[in-house]
């Protein structure tokens, strides 16, 4: 798990996650809002709505560096995204 490879189908692997290859901007709302599992009705990724722009920025850039294509998401686009999250 520490290596980002998740567990089975329920907890998806971060390694090679499509979000980390070209869809970094969608991570802001995924992290802020959380998400219902597409595999099991009782499982939910919790919302981390208490995280602020800078924290989300650090988190996303860390994920991108560790398991993605190393691209960086500017804090301005995080700020814009937060406005639009459900």
């Amino acid at each position: 798990m520490d290596d980002g490879n998740g567990l089975g189908q329920i907890y998806p692997s971060l390694q090679k996650s499509v979000y980390l290859y070209g869809k970094l901007d969608e991570l802001t709302c995924l992290i802020r809002t959380g998400r219902q599992s597409s595999h099991l009705s009782t499982v939910v990724m919790p919302s981390f709505s208490n995280l602020r722009e800078a924290e989300i920025s650090n988190l996303i850039n860390y994920l991108s560096h560790e398991w993605g294509d190393q691209s960086i998401l500017p804090i301005t686009s995080i700020r814009e995204q937060i406005e639009t999250c459900p």
Partner: protein, 208 residues
């Protein structure tokens, strides 16, 4: 003559040394929970008899696990915090003991309301559990919480303020073939689980 003694002595020391190495510095395991009551009688601690249902819809009791070493944890599928992490460690243990035949894993849900048998089945399936080796057990909530606290000594309670509505520890417990507690580890700490896996192997060795 003396020479022969030295060779034998050397061989004995080498063998003893090797065997203690291969057991990874694990000594005789304690019987956790044994105690003496106020009248001076020794109380042997073991998990009480139970009857629950597993993810295959089968009724299971302590008799089902007779003559098996068990590895036990407490969880619930909607747990948003530590459980996925502990489940990954249980999966690691499952993969290690897969071919043993005398070791089984048990995950007790503390949330029977949401964790119906089909939900447990689906969860087990999708995290890669082997349904014969790793049982996900459902029973009355109060019974499960009681055995967690009183028999397994791992805190578990319903708490509105805890993430997901239950507060419980990420401990993984080792029971011997007589349902006596012989070890614990912290399912949030992979190092501790590595040591625990060696402890399982050590315990198996004591039955040989």
């Amino acid at each position: 003559m003396n020479k022969i003694y030295f060779i034998i002595l050397g061989a004995v020391i080498l063998l003893v040394g090797l065997s203690s190495c291969s057991k990874g510095d694990i000594g005789p395991l304690p019987f956790i929970g044994d105690r003496v009551d106020p009248d001076g009688n020794e109380i042997i601690h073991k998990i009480r008899p139970f009857s629950f249902t597993n993810q295959n819809g089968e009724q299971v009791t302590n008799a089902t696990y007779k003559n098996k070493i068990h590895v036990v944890d407490f969880f619930f599928t909607s747990c948003p915090s530590i459980c996925p992490y502990v489940a990954a460690q249980m999966k690691r243990i499952q993969d290690h003991v897969a071919d043993y035949g005398d070791v089984m894993l048990i995950s007790h849900t503390v949330d029977p309301k949401r964790d119906s048998i089909p939900v447990l089945r689906e969860y087990a399936e999708k995290i890669g559990a082997n349904h014969d080796l790793w049982h996900f057990l459902r029973g009355p909530k109060d019974d499960v919480i009681e055995i967690a606290n009183e028999d397994y000594f791992v805190a578990a309670l319903e708490d509105e303020d805890a993430p997901g509505g239950f507060d419980h520890s990420g401990k993984i417990i080792l029971l011997d073939k007589d349902a006596k507690i012989r070890g614990f580890c912290d399912g949030m700490d992979p190092e501790s689980v590595t040591q625990f896996i060696k402890t399982i192997d050590y315990l198996r060795g004591t039955y040989e």
